[in-house]
């Protein structure tokens, strides 16, 4: 019985999981770096029309993945604006590459990074920042040396949320990925294709792997939030 299960596990192709993990790590890293200044700006800047920018940042939350996916195929393609710029700079194509799905999920996960970061930045005691300014630190230095270290748990929460969101991404990747093995074929798509090909056992095993991983990360988020 045991050995039979073992061979079944071995018959599953694990490469899509590796791609999923790689995608989640890359997107999380990129997004935290990009979202931190944006969140800082949204947390403290005051200007007319701020709510317009805030709504724009949150738009991926309210749009169906199909809408985002449809436009991304057009914009990242060889005739789209992003695709043409990319091709001029690098000589390669952006769509149907690993980097292409990183761009797609970065855009798609943007609110998941910005919202927790903004909340964390707003929780910081203003007096801390004022002391930093009084002591002669520049805005950038204050951001890097006072605000960021004091928002560690918020940054971690944002990172984990983005990470989980990327692991679960499906619709956008289905539309822009092209399902290239080892490149854009992530686990969620591999499961979908296994179901379509009537490989239910393989689909079941892969699905089963998702639950403990996602659960463990959610527990971790809880922990960090309580620590904050």
């Amino acid at each position: 019985m045991r050995s039979k299960q073992d061979t079944d596990i071995n018959s599953v192709d694990w490469q899509p999981f590796y791609v999923t993990l790689k995608l989640a790590v890359a997107t999380t890293g990129l997004l935290i770096v990009l979202a931190a200044p944006l969140a800082y700006f949204l947390a403290y800047a005051r200007f007319p029309g701020k709510s317009l920018i805030e709504a724009l940042v949150n738009l991926p939350l309210a749009l169906p993945p199909t809408v985002i996916g449809f436009y991304l195929v057009v914009f990242m393609g060889p005739k789209g604006a992003a695709g043409r710029v990319w091709e001029a700079v690098t000589g390669g194509s952006l769509l149907f590459t690993f980097l292409g799905i990183v761009v797609a999920s970065t855009l798609y996960s943007l609110p998941f990074a910005v919202q927790p970061l903004k909340a964390a930045f707003q929780r910081i005691d203003r007096r801390l920042m004022e002391s930093a300014y009084v002591l002669g630190l520049s805005r950038v230095a204050t951001f890097l040396r006072v605000i960021i270290p004091n928002s560690a748990s918020g940054i971690a929460a944002a990172a984990i949320l983005v990470f989980l969101h990327c692991m679960g991404a499906f619709g956008v990747l289905l539309m822009v990925g092209g399902s290239l093995p080892g490149e854009t074929k992530v686990a969620s798509i591999a499961i979908y294709e296994a179901v379509e090909a009537m490989k239910y056992r393989e689909a079941g095993l892969m699905s089963l792997c998702f639950i403990p991983i996602s659960y463990a990360f959610l527990l971790l988020v809880n922990r960090l939030n309580r620590g904050a």
């Binding site: 060889p78 005739k79 289905l174 539309m175 092209g178 399902s179 290239l180 074929k185 294709e193 009537m198």
Partner: protein
Amino acid sequence: MVRRSGCGWVLLLVSVLWLIPVSVSAQEKLNAAVAANFIQAFTEISQAFERKTGVKVEATFASTGSLYGQIVNGAPYDLFLSADEDRPARLNREGAGERPFVYARGRCVLWSARKDFCRARDWRTALRGEDVKRVAIANPETAPYGTAARTALVKTGLWEALKQKWVFAQNIAQAFQYASTSATEAGFCAYSSVMSDEGKKGCFYRLEEAPAIVQSACILKRTPHRAAAEAFAAFLASPEADAIKARYGYQ
């Protein structure tokens, strides 16, 4: 108090309306699960059928693989129009479907939105072109048109030789979408999509090396509208339906 009860009436009215089916007419309606390549032809055929009999046929379009999955899991369709022979035969063996019948024979083509793509001597030379970086193909594991395209590519030795060019679409409609938005330079599509308005803007090669895609259909045993389903099955083979199918390149 009065205001309150007024509110209650509105709530009650809304919940009652919620329960009424959207369509209250007694018109009979069929639900068909239809393979994505047959979209345009099916829409015309079902309209002709409705004009003739008054029975409306609503279709769900998806890849053959996912429709099969839905049916096995109890989706309430009356008919299944597959893009292969295998899955209706399976449903028949498993007891979910009646005896399958062939309703169309489709052809696989290599289509591009760029007219200059078709200046090459043949499709094999066109595919080898330096500027052809990506070519969309429907997933050969699940989409019959993808399987046919792969057969032609394997036969001509291009499947391995040009491996880095293939981009896999979930079904034949997505393969066409990738090619028509120029996300890929070309795509293996159904002959039927070449006949659409969008398809006429581009150009295509016939794939003689690809086998014809024999598409069969079956009535599902769970249908409560057996007579109407049988009438539609018969209509699918009528000269009127054949003329529509021919217009979309089916044989």
